[in-house]
Symmetry: C2
Subunit: 453 residues, 2 copies
């Protein structure tokens, strides 16, 4: 009989690990436990379901039945793993439907317990018109709530990228939207100029952005709903409230088993995704990841990283020898008509990691300037003064920003220098790209800024 | 007094070299000679002027006056350089307006004499409804001809990328368009699957594509116009004819001065863009260029290469020490609704250069599949079996093909392997990119095809 591989968590890294394990080792028995009632759904698509762009049935293409039939994974929803006994190689699992507890033996265990939304810790946070957007059912519930109860106002607490996506989605449904944010500009982690542009785009589209807002509490109405959010800047009417103040790693189960975690609370793994405990792997939002720019362990809860790390964990749990080297942090978001992307280190990250960062910003065109549909694209590069290596970039514009950011993501990972970038031979075609692509314009400007060697 | 830098050719590489020279050395006297009556215009935009997307006045943003006023370049149009006397460091220049001939001394000379369209060498080729698209006036004349004489039919001789752009442009003006091509599929140099897709797109849009066509001659009508094109497949009515069978380097002037040229007839330079003759530099379509993939000298007449090589020639002519390392061949074209791009070596190129090329094709999505507007994107990668290095790629689709091709262009230049590609951390955002970008899907498929090391 083949080895028994248990996977805990059914969202992104978990199904990815389970699929890869089953494919890598056809003799293995692969069982996946998920405490919720759905697996493998598109968390990142939830804002686009709320806006009406994506249908509910398209959010969850994989059911437990499909995983079983097509991927040879025994997927058990409504099963919560409550304890790991590493020495006995067992886990204790509660069947939430029946209430019974089982012990399951494993040869290899993969933890993909994900993240959980941060809470404000205030009375009223559980009211039925307060939503987080971490689970499929909440996203569907929010859309239903808007459709049935026609709230006129929305308050979004948190001006990160989920906050931006939700502002866009709720505005498109006709709500009056307020974003409360605990800094002057939205989207911490991006460069100042980018953040100013995002704020402008919000305001241009009629979203009220309240900077340096401290949420003080909620005012409850008569029917288990919040009516207002109280802040240091006054009270805001709220037909619905979205709390999007970030996530934290769900690593309690791992810590209970003596598995090492890092400064963020995320599980530490090696590049084979093995934890500090033999035979136990981990992947996804419950883990830290190595920054390919700074070499440090960081916490970047993104599905792209989760799925690659999940593959690696699954392949290795099944007896393979895959590695996942790390991530650079690559983020893209649509804010109304604006594409906004960040790749690699911010200037602040770079400085903190010991680089001597130099930044330069240029504005170019998405296509040949005189072609219909051509839009301004702004590129901000961050390079290391000494090595002249590209460390990070922000790109924004109404067209062609995100895919260009991905080109820079590759450049960062391939350790391109500014001199390399100046030599880039890129395709030029008037309907798609100008003769001097904004990426080349940026490289030339940065070269000038760095001075002749 | 500063050095005297003469530049021959006013289209792409010439103005680029002259501008850079004037900027690099503020004491230099920079004179540019152009035999036509315009400088620095957008040849690549001509098809989009013909379609009506770009206005005539937007084709030529730089006049000789602007070059003089803003860039300190003494630009002389209607001046043909007829001879170089390297030992005396002089050139003989004919003023085409006055007919006089002058001798001009130089300290450094930059040749940017460009390319010329290949000719069929058939009687009737000079008829007033036969056009090539190498010069601004021809593009403007073609559009005027269509507007004034309302031809119903167009025959395009040549199925390369200019032929494709012209088919698109003329079809959009309502003409009945036939493309005569000397091979089974259009766009030689692309992979078979890409070419099949392009042919399909032509036919889907009502363009008649005649494969393996041998142009036999023209039938002349009464008013200095062609009425039909004769081929091995019969006669085609032609209210206008576009001859787009490629270009060849314009290197006669250089050869006359004893400057070395390569197998294609293009001028050979070192990576400082210096020719085999002291004090004479060259750049652009009159030159060969080093392939960054195969290391060989190749002929790639593209504006992107011309402008970078021009910069390098200009900087060095002015006393700087710039290098231009070479090019990979990066081409993009819009064929009706299709974005088509090629970067790096074709499978055939790669094999001929001594690689052991492996190709793999996948089809992914431009955005998250269930997002409105998401389109299929097909990626064909060409990798070297031994080193696993990415050598080339074709990408096509109705959205997000060209910018993704540019990401692969960078990967090729940064010498990425397929293993590197699998690790790429790319931004994922439903309106712009799927969780597994087509580039990652392609890398994973290629990894599988190459087998476990």
């Amino acid at each position: 009989m083949g080895r028994r591989i248990l996977v805990v968590g059914g969202l992104a890294a978990g199904p990815s690990a389970a699929s890869k394990a089953a494919r890598t080792n056809p003799d293995a028995e692969v069982v996946l436990f998920e405490q919720g009632d759905a697996v493998s759904y598109g968390v990142c698509e939830i804002p686009y379901h709320i806006s009406g762009e994506v249908k509910a049935e398209d959010l969850a293409p994989f059911t437990p039945e499909i995983l079983r039939a097509t991927r040879r994974i025994d997927a058990r929803v409504l099963h919560r793993v409550e304890e790991i006994q590493p020495h006995r190689r067992t886990i204790r699992v509660r069947n939430l439907a029946g209430g019974t507890t089982l012990e399951e033996k494993f040869d290899r265990l993969v933890l993909a317990t994900g993240s959980r939304p941060r809470r404000l810790g205030m009375a009223g946070e559980e009211a039925r018109n307060v939503f987080r957007l971490k689970a499929l059912d909440e996203g569907i519930a929010l859309r239903k709530f808007v459709a049935q109860e026609h709230p006129r106002t929305a308050v979004i607490i948190g001006g990160g990228y989920i906050g931006m996506e939700m502002a866009d989605a709720l505005k498109s449904l006709g709500l009056d939207v307020t974003v409360l944010h605990n800094a002057v500009l939205p989207m911490k982690g991006l460069e100042r100029e980018t953040r100013e542009c995002v704020r402008e785009e919000l305001e241009k589209n009629g979203v009220r952005f309240v900077s340096m807002a401290q949420t003080g509490g909620f005012v409850r109405g008569g029917d288990a709903k919040i009516t207002h959010v109280l802040t240091s800047d006054g009270s805001f009417e709220a037909g619905i409230v979205v709390v999007a103040i970030g996530v934290e790693p769900n690593a309690d189960l791992a810590r209970g088993a003596g598995i090492r975690t890092g400064a963020s609370g995320g599980i530490l793994t090696d590049r084979r995704q093995q934890t500090s405990v033999d035979n136990i792997y981990a992947a996804g939002d419950c883990c830290e990841v190595k920054s390919l720019v700074t070499g440090r362990q960081v916490y970047i809860p993104l599905a792209t990283i989760a799925s690659k790390a999940g593959w690696t964990a699954g392949e290795n749990a099944a007896g393979g020898s895959a590695v996942f080297l790390g991530a650079i942090r690559a983020i893209a978001v649509r804010v109304f008509g604006l594409e906004v992307a960040q790749v690699g280190a911010s200037e602040a990250d770079a400085r903190e990691a010991g680089f001597d960062p130099v930044s330069e910003t240029i504005t170019g065109w998405s296509r040949v300037a005189v072609m219909p549909g051509s839009e301004r694209v702004t590129v901000r590069l961050i390079a290391d003064r000494k090595t002249r290596r590209l460390l990070g970039a922000n790109i924004w514009g109404r067209e062609g920003a995100v895919l260009r950011a991905n080109t820079l993501a590759v450049a960062i990972q391939q350790k391109a220098t500014i001199a390399d970038m100046q030599q880039w031979d890129l395709a030029y075609s008037p309907p798609f790209t100008p003769l001097w692509d904004p990426l080349l314009v940026a490289a030339n400007a940065m070269h000038k800024k760095l001075g002749i060697p």
